[in-house]
Amino acid sequence: MSSPIQLQPDETFVLNVGPQHPATHGVLRVKMEMHGEYIVNSETVIGYIHRMHEKMGENKTYPQFLMNLSRMDYLGALGYSHGHVLVVEKASGIEVPKRAEYIRAIMVELNRISSHLFWFGAFVMDLGGFSPLMYALQDREHILDMLEAVTGSRLTYCYFRFGGLYNDIDDDFIDAARRFIPRMRKSLIKYEKLVTGNIIFRKRLEGNAFLSKETCRKYGASSAVARGSGINFDVRKNEPYSVYPEFDFDVPVYHECDSLARYMVRMDEIEQSLRIIEQGLDKLPDGPIMPAKKPKLIKPPAGDYYQAVETARGSFGVRLVSDGTKTPYRLKLRSPTFSNMHLFDETCRGMMIMDALAFMGSLDLVIPEIDR
């Protein structure tokens, strides 16, 4: 017979969360030093799905690299492609037709909604509620169908080209998008009643994981993580690019600095994206989707170029160092979740493990995007 196990009052143990864990949304590992249910210290281990996209960028020509961008963040892929095409267009001085930019913005916003919907479902599932995921996926399905008809794929889009688009949108798409907007608005009311107003849900998240403005700044957080901490920062507004200055939309900012604030920011963003799509469809100009004259071979002049865009997960940046040849000399991809995830270790100290997992959910992690 074994002797009874007794924990000493100040004894800690190491808990290994992951690499495969349902709450980490991918292959992420967190080593946690626990004291009972409280986290004393934690160390995040990433790199399990590292694919070295940046080296591929140096070996492939500019058009060949287009498809890599959508393999980084599989939920909001179009935003990443947008950043890449914008920086190459800026560097090589390619003019983009107005219609193409409008369609890009509409597509990126649709993709942002689908990404937020998936996050919404998965986040509530992390907290123990399964059914909202099914509702969210049902709405998301409409977006994926729409995007599939135009871009040819459901997740890993390769839709943007330097100077324009691969395929023009047709009346079917416009009809479907117009039908989708009221549907999504109705669903938002449903989610509000089902989840946001739920007392268990609110009690769980209110005051969970306080993130100060200063922490956000030191770690370079963006997206809802920063906006939930009272920082009014959205690249679409702060450094306007593409046709975003022509749209009338708001940036939701909450000052509570807790997980509920981050949740509220994302839910409000869905409505703002719907507004952009609505205006985009109304204002959509006629014309070509590719420029009349475009260099056959893309060779940006030597120099370095930077472009930031607001993706579903935050400020994504591409730094392109060109030496004037047909492949980039260096292509740095600054992924937003990398910075957002980094502050987890510092913030989760002293939290209970289930609160820390709720906090992790509120960061909206997509691991392939951290690892690149």
């Binding site: 990433i46 790199g47 590292h50 070295m52 940046e54 080296k55 140096e58 920086v87 800026k90 956000c216 700044r217 030191k218 770690y219 370079g220 957080a221 920063a226 920082i231 009014n232 920062f233 507004k237 702060n238 450094e239 002049p301 030597a302 120099g303 370095d304 170029y305 930077y306 472009q307 930031a308 400020s315 940046g317 730094r319 160092v321 030496d323 004037g324 000399y329 260096r330 740095k332 600054r334 990398f338 910075s339 980094h342 502050l343 510092e346 690892d371 690149r372």
Partner: protein
């Protein structure tokens, strides 16, 4: 305007005669850059330390600062004082010149936009720069990533082990002479 303010703070870092010189020089250099002239002859003379105001529409950032590795912490302190947030850290391997460039990107949570690039060049054979984790805690992972890819040693880094590469990795894939 934050751009002028930050630029002034950077200029104070460099001795006065040189900073005046680099200011007057940068105008011509800037004009050169925008024209196609630069394509024909790549910069042969190494760039002097100093601050250059760049054309945002072309390059996507406002201030470009080149410093010595010794002066790096001073420069990073300047951006910290002006409440910049850290965007990323990366390297570029200039194999022909035998140097590695370390590039720090900073930006601001503000509508008074200012993007700052701080760059420093070190010898390719012995790449060592001081860590900035003491100023920006978020530099930790960025520096580990740069260490993975380029083998740059960040002096004083608390935990410089592979981040994205396997734990026993002894190769640096983004060096130009890396063979898989």
């Amino acid at each position: 305007m934050i751009i002028e303010k930050t630029k002034l703070a950077f200029q104070n870092m460099f001795p006065t005669p040189e900073s005046e010189l680099s200011v007057s020089e940068e105008v011509t250099e800037e004009a050169e850059k925008t024209e196609t002239d630069k394509k024909a002859k790549p910069e042969k003379t190494p760039r002097l330390d100093g601050v250059i105001e760049c054309d945002y529409a072309v390059h996507g950032y406002h201030l470009d600062v080149q410093v010595d590795a010794e002066q790096l912490l001073v420069a990073v302190n300047v951006v910290d004082q002006e409440e910049f947030f850290i965007e990323s850290i990366t390297g570029v391997d200039w194999i022909k010149e035998g140097q590695i460039e370390i590039v720090y990107d900073f930006s601001r949570y503000d509508f008074d936009t200012c993007r700052v690039v701080i760059r420093t060049r070190v010898d390719r054979k012995n790449p060592v720069v001081p860590t900035i984790t003491g100023i920006y805690a978020g530099a930790n992972w960025h520096e580990r990533e740069t260490h993975d890819f380029f083998g740059i040693k960040f002096d004083g880094h608390p935990h410089l082990i592979p981040l994205l590469l396997p734990e026993d990795a002894d190769f640096h894939p983004l060096l130009k002479d890396f063979k898989a």
